[in-house]
């Protein structure tokens, strides 16, 4: 009986100790959660910018965003981020720029698209007129008085893409390229699209003896990416042996379609932007190579450009970001540079 009592006593003491430890642990967990709201800013930021981006799911835009935030932290800049999606909040990029102006922000970084036409240009111009600084990424040729354009040259982008397509199809056979535009791209009247095509074609000319007619396609859905259209190309145009995609999502979707149709080795994928999955596909030889538009640097440079503009530091109104080609042959060098 005494032994039973002793065992019961020891068990109760152990339970008490465990309960005390658990109580302290959960209390700390609660407190840590209360305190876990790490401030985004130091309380008294130097500048207050608005970052307006569309298609934030894409690797490229995510990289821009990360570049912006890292640079903002570095320069003590407060960033309010807006994902421009009219279907969600009924506000366009131009509205966000107007709000930033009315709210007397110091600057705006907008990844513009010209589908808003004159409204966007007006908003940018009014913002500039009110004393704000505006940095535009994406489409260089917006007819606005923006302070600085930070991004890649669409023409150069087209040239680099053509180079990589040629490399991918380098062999005895002729090259039958297919270019898949994302759904957000405009039709042939769009200047950016035209610039890209011009660049692509100009480079293709130098390889004209092997380049055949291009096949232009456009994805139907932002959600599904280029899988459907790739499958369709493979079915309808069996002669196509190089497919070029213009963002990470379409690149991966096209690669998966090629794998699904057992066309690895006969159809080469050349894509745009870099993420871990794409690097893995490159390493495995499913994707030949990609164009890295370097979204992170674009974001970082945008912040620096706005700060320079506010502080009156001399700078060009056009900050070109280098495009890199990443293939299996230079993947290790690329990773080394990025790190």
């Amino acid at each position: 009986m005494k032994t039973l009592v002793k065992i019961a006593f020891v068990i109760l003491v152990l339970i008490s100790i465990v309960a005390i430890v658990a109580s302290i642990y959960f209390y700390n967990a609660v407190n840590q959660k209360f305190q876990s709201d790490v401030p985004n800013f130091g309380g008294d930021p130097k500048y207050h910018f608005s970052l307006i981006l569309t298609d934030t799911d894409s690797t490229y835009i995510s990289q821009i965003k990360k570049g912006v935030y890292d640079a903002a932290a570095k320069y003590n800049v407060a960033i309010e981020f807006h994902e421009s999606d009219f279907s969600k909040d009924g506000l366009l990029n131009s509205d966000y720029i107007n709000i930033a102006r009315l709210a007397k922000l110091d600057g705006v970084i907008v990844n513009s698209s010209n589908n808003e036409g004159a409204n966007l240009i007006t908003s940018i111009n009014e913002a500039i007129a009110s004393g704000m600084v505006v940095s535009v990424t994406g489409y260089k040729d917006i007819q606005s008085s923006r302070n600085v354009y930070v991004g890649t040259s669409q023409f150069s982008y087209g040239q680099k893409a053509a180079e990589l397509v040629y490399e991918a199809g380098n062999g005895p056979n002729l090259i039958y390229p297919a270019i898949i535009f994302p759904s957000s791209y405009q039709d042939e009247t769009d200047n950016n699209t035209n610039l890209f095509e011009l660049g692509f074609k100009s480079m293709a000319k130098s390889f004209s003896e092997r380049f055949q007619d291009f096949l232009y396609e456009k994805t139907n859905s932002k959600l599904l990416g280029a899988e459907d259209i790739t499958l369709n190309i493979l079915k309808e145009n069996p002669e196509v042996n190089v497919i070029f995609c213009m963002n990470a999502k379409d690149t991966i979707a096209a690669a998966q379609a090629v794998v699904d149709r057992y066309r690895v080795g006969s159809v080469f994928i050349v894509g745009t932007d870099v993420n871990d999955e794409i690097l893995d596909y490159i390493d495995k030889g499913i994707i030949y190579g990609v164009i890295d538009r370097n979204g992170y640097l674009i974001g970082q440079s945008s912040i620096e450009a706005l700060i320079n503009q506010i502080e009156g530091t001399m700078q060009s109104s056009y900050k070109d970001i280098d495009i890199k080609q990443v293939t299996k042959s230079n993947i290790s060098d690329y990773l080394e540079q990025e790190n």
Binding site: I15, S23, D37, F41, G90, N98, I99
Partner: protein
């Protein structure tokens, strides 16, 4: 030493144990309460803060719509009341936004930025609204319509940002709520388990302390009950706890019990010693009384013994001169007996002396009784130095002669025998006279000295009766069973003195 022991025992005292148990229990339950209370306060505070911010934004929208309504009313009706209402509501809105802005002086989160935007947009709205009102006052329809449209556009932006802000806060708070709520639930569960464990532990501790306190007390009570009945040999009360008050009390109780026991034993010893002393004194008194009595009787039986002794010596001289040898011997024996008898009775003599006197005494009887009475002596030599009171054998021989042989016409023989068997000396005086009844024997052995008078009447020469002899022997040898009497009516009577031998009484130290 006692003080030091109590001082040490305080460290393990019951009071301290109780205080520790109480403090630990209180601390643990307090800790539980504090943890839950603190978490709850923070949780409630966060919810309250969120609620207040939402309410504040709700009031802000109401105020904003009030301004817009008044602007709209004024622009539509050009009513001075509406204009007044506009300015009042505008002032109210400005005051409200000033208060709200005062609460957010620093920017830490993106929500703060949105909030700041809302406040600034409100300023922009009021500017547009003011411009629209002024344009209306200036009758500039185109401008006031444009400004009013711009103001409305700003209101849409504000509402949109308020929605965004609420949504963002809701998202953040929901995420936090789920995690915090989960942790608080876990905390509550752990604390409930802790409380239950503490309750059971307390029950254990209370039972343990109660048992450990009452058990020694019960033992003490039982022991005290035994002691009250006079049983000091009850087992000591054992308390297994450390040096707490109960152990000190039990030890003190045990010590007290032993002290009392020792004290009582001392009292017993002392009483026994005193009793022995009293007995000794009583015996001495009795002895003295007997001696006095014997001496008195001896003196009463003497007629100027010195005169008689001298006279007998003169008689001896005369008998020698006349050539009467038997008479001379007779007179010498008488003189010797007289000389022996007149000496003090409280001296110690040897058996040898007693036998010598007894032989003289027997010679007298031979003369007196002739052939009717004969004596036989069988004395062991190793007993001759036996120490004894004087005039012990002679009265017995006299009794045998007077009451045993003298009453018998044919006479008889008196045998005196001394032998030592197994360290016991048996000194017997036996006659083959008429014997005696058992009642008489019983009376001799047990009756008081009062009967001495009857003995005296029988014609004893010593004046000392058998009782006197027996009492003196008992006192001298401190042995009640000193005399045995055997008798066969008409045949024999034997008195046997039984003396256990030791060094003191057999030629050793003086008694």
């Amino acid at each position: 030493m006692k003080i030091i022991k109590l001082g040490k025992s305080f460290l393990n005292s019951i009071r301290k144990k109780l205080v520790i148990v109480f403090l630990v229990t209180t601390l643990l339950t307090s800790m539980v309460s504090v943890l839950i209370l603190s978490s709850s306060i923070k949780f409630i505070s966060q919810i309250e803060s969120m609620f207040n911010e939402n309410v504040s934004l709700g009031y802000f929208i109401q105020a904003l719509e009030e301004v817009d309504s008044n602007v709209s009313l004024y622009l539509t009706n050009d009513d001075s009341d509406a204009l007044m209402a506009f300015y009042i509501s505008k002032d109210y809105l400005e005051l409200m936004t000033d208060d709200m802005a005062a609460e957010k002086t620093q920017l830490f989160f993106e929500e703060d930025l949105l909030f700041k935007d809302i406040i600034t947009l409100e300023d922009a709205y009021l500017v547009k609204a003011q411009e629209a009102v002024e344009a209306k006052q200036n009758r500039d329809a185109e401008i006031y319509i444009s400004k009013y449209e711009q103001a409305n556009e700003v209101i849409l932006y504000i509402k949109n940002y308020i929605n965004k802000l609420n949504l963002k806060r809701f998202d953040n708070n929901t995420g936090q709520y789920l995690i915090i709520s989960g942790n608080i639930n876990n905390l509550i569960t752990a604390n409930i388990i802790l409380i239950i464990a503490i309750v059971f532990l307390n029950v254990f501790v209370v039972f343990f302390i109660t048992y450990s306190m009452t058990n020694p007390i019960i033992k003490l009570a039982h022991s005290a009950e035994e002691i009250s009945k006079g049983n000091f040999s009850a087992e000591d009360v054992v308390v297994t706890s450390n040096d707490d008050e109960l152990k000190v009390m039990a030890d003190a109780f045990n010590a007290m019990k032993h002290s009392i026991k020792e004290y009582i034993e001392e009292l017993y010893d002392k009483a026994e010693t005193e009793s022995k002393l009293m007995d000794e004194q009583m015996r001495n008194l009795k002895m003295q009384s007997l001696l006095n009595n014997a001496e008195l009787k001896s003196l009463q039986s003497q007629i100027n013994p010195h005169f008689l002794f001298n006279t007998l010596n003169a008689g001896v001289q005369l008998a020698i001169m006349e050539g009467a040898d038997r008479t001379s011997e007779f007179m010498e024996d008488v003189a010797m007996i007289f000389r022996y008898n007149v000496q003090s009775l409280d001296r110690v003599v040897t058996l040898r002396e007693e036998i010598e006197v007894l032989k003289s005494y027997s010679n007298l009887f031979k003369v007196r009784y002739g052939d009717r009475m004969s004596f036989e002596f069988d004395i062991a030599d190793d007993c001759l130095e036996l120490k004894m009171p004087p005039l012990v054998i002679q009265p017995l021989v006299e009794n045998a002669a007077i009451h045993g042989i003298d009453q018998k016409e044919s006479g008889g023989t008196i045998k005196v025998k001394v032998e030592k068997i197994d360290n016991i000396i048996y000194l017997s005086v036996e006659d083959d006279g008429i014997g005696m009844d058992s009642e008489v024997i019983k009376g001799i052995l047990n009756e008081d000295l009062i009967n001495e008078k009857t003995e005296k009447k029988s014609g004893h020469t010593t004046g000392i009766g058998t009782h006197n002899v027996i009492h003196r022997l008992r006192l001298f040898y401190q042995n009640e069973d000193v005399m045995r009497i055997e008798s066969i009516k008409g045949k024999m009577t034997r008195f046997t003195i039984v003396i256990p031998v030791n060094e003191d009484i057999l030629g050793g130290k003086d008694v």
